[in-house]
Symmetry: C3
Subunit: 291 residues, 3 copies
């Protein structure tokens, strides 16, 4: 028995999630099933890719992760199993594992297609492979009755689907471009710009002033926590996932910046001028756009 | 210990579901509780009846299903236990088990009223029998400390409440009338028209063209999967529950058809005319309304 | 191993709850985690305080309750552990345990600050102490590897944060003033006026007519259950939590009264006049505002 986690775009109002659990428990009654989220936007592969990479690694060794966001169900897209040093991921081959595959522990991960009908439900419909293929495959793995290799032939890493353009990058000296990949319940804008990339931009010191731009708003500096600014004021910080977030203390950065997933986010750094204050002709300091 | 599943209209924002679980675990700490859905529309018996019949049979033998949609709580309506060859269902006697009772495995099911206060909570309120009666009864069953017969006297099947008019039917040669019973998260319109009924209409062959009408929209033919049509185009298919669904590939059939639960759905079949094209005076082929 | 319950304002669309569960299971794989609610309004301490007091006591002895509504995360606010005769509660010291502390079983409860880093995650971020401190502390307690006293030094009950003005009170003879603390899924207005307070007002007998006022509406008398009035009609009753609720049978009291959390609710009682009808000069009986 193992922990089996679920990330889907099924929502919780329909019975889809409950039925997947029914199938799992029919095969492995001892499986411990944990919901990560069923609130992925319908068919939003970027959001699911980000959540899988952010949440799954927190689980104990041996966990099996099902990521079921599957707009191509019933078409020729294949189903993929990935095993890194700690976990197994099962998902459609549609790029939803793009960010999981970039994590350090995924280097050299084993990849297999999921094709062995011995581990499927007896009847396979055309519209719900989460129930008919992925759930039973996970349960057979969890019960110790299948290995990843038994699920199907090895998959060539070069042949896998991937989501293009995901992940912040340095586009010019002192400049990072990324995007909003998720807006959380508090209206925080979660970006795909990793903490490490910000560190690189700053050159490891505090000698550079950061500016973060999202929508028509600009935020100066990086805060440590939401309450570092007054209520209603915006801030940028490295969030609990290890990525740059834009927030408004006790407010909503979504409303403040009028941003949504997919919108660009820019970070720039420049040296803080020494003894600049009071010099004639110097432009006034920029107002924080949150004021 | 057994699997205990929950279908309610309580939502997840309130603590009602958590409190039912507290009561269950207080009696049977080993019970494995699985949420099917708490997103049934408030007091929507039709939706709950459909979900119970669609989801519960997927669970392993021995499962105990609580269906708590109970607009008549505190009135004279009785509480019912039903045991078929595989499962036990506990629910108010308000018709919410109408479709469960029509399933083949329910033939000859045992029916008992839930009246034995030995298996209730000590204090019974007037407003939350899910917590005070159904949850403890399920937990006593799960713990092996009660049998269905111990819960109360046998119930006469003829006396039970039932929801009228639920389930598609053939209304004329070549015509089925049903209704939308559920709109899922993707905007798919789930009907109460079973796959078997469609097969009957088609006469088992492909020689008949199906037309599905919902709201002011008409869809020709039956697809196998959502991606059989282009993105944004409508289709009809037999969904994962084994019932006719109307969908829009990567879109919302609810918005397309402007339909909601309770709205009628019509299916008609006619022989495909041989070499009909080009004959004078024949009406032009109908455009798929999705174009 | 123990039951660990969760009350948060994280919602279920984000992965925050799943990640807390991951951390717990990494420390105590046998923990039985039960969600009470993640639908607390963002940073709504009053709603969370009420839910904790209403729901947690239903759980079996030994349960550990995490209440994570934490607008001050990352600031100097401390984290608190409370152990009464039956349960342990872990929460920020921001008043969210105000009503738990008023329950009879909390008299003499042990109180400790949560400060021992041996029971935290190795890396503590500034924005998610639910994950980094409270979840691991709960799991160490559940696994029997920590006691409350091991978590940190005793806390002085006098020094704790509290929410002011929570709980209905008698403001004049025959008058109670309270507030709406929660609106449930059915639109029922849940108040902070306890059943016992109402009993006090009535003097234990039926000789006094109650009137409940919320928003611009007035309701006469107290019903036993929702269906005591006709569909669409308002009523007041002692709800399943043991507090006064205002409801509309098969309708929404929120819409009827146009009330929301924080709005005042007034209850008044007066002796029913004997043979009052027909006397000259007497004002006409007030119409129930629901008609």
């Amino acid at each position: 028995m193992a922990v089996i986690t679920l990330i889907t775009d099924f929502g919780l109002d329909d019975e889809y999630v409950g039925v997947m659990k029914a199938v799992i428990l029919g095969i492995d009654p001892a499986a411990l099933i944990v919901d990560i989220s069923h609130g992925i936007g319908p068919q939003d592969l970027v959001q699911a890719a980000f959540m899988a990479a952010a949440a799954c690694p927190h689980f104990p060794d041996g966990a099996i992760h099902l990521v079921v966001v599957d707009p191509g169900v019933g078409t020729g897209r294949r189903l993929l199993g990935l095993q890194d040093g700690r976990h197994i991921y099962l998902a459609p081959d549609n790029g939803v594992l793009t960010l999981v595959r970039r994590r350090p522990e995924a280097t050299g991960a084993r990849l297999h297609w999921i094709e062995n009908r011995a581990f499927f439900r007896p009847q396979i419909g055309a519209t719900f492979h989460g129930r008919d293929i992925l759930a039973p495959a996970a349960a057979h793995l969890s019960a110790g009755r299948a290995t990843l290799a038994a699920l199907g032939p090895p998959a060539d890493p070069e042949s896998l689907a991937a989501i293009e353009g995901l992940g912040g990058r340095i586009t010019a000296p002192g400049r990072i471009r990324g995007q909003v990949v998720h807006v959380d319940r508090f209206g925080n804008l979660v970006t795909d710009i990793e903490a490490g990339l910000i560190e690189k931009l700053r050159g490891g010191g505090d000698g550079r002033l950061l500016r973060v731009a999202a929508g028509r708003r600009r935020i100066a500096g990086l805060s440590a926590t939401y309450a570092d600014v007054e209520a209603g004021r915006p801030l940028a910080l490295i969030g609990s996932r290890g990525f740059l977030e834009i927030a408004v203390n006790r407010g909503s950065a979504r409303d403040f910046c009028r941003c949504r997933p997919g919108d660009g986010v820019h970070v720039s750094a420049r040296r803080i001028p020494v003894a600049a204050a009071g010099r004639r002709g110097r432009p006034k300091p920029r107002r924080n756009s949150g004021t």
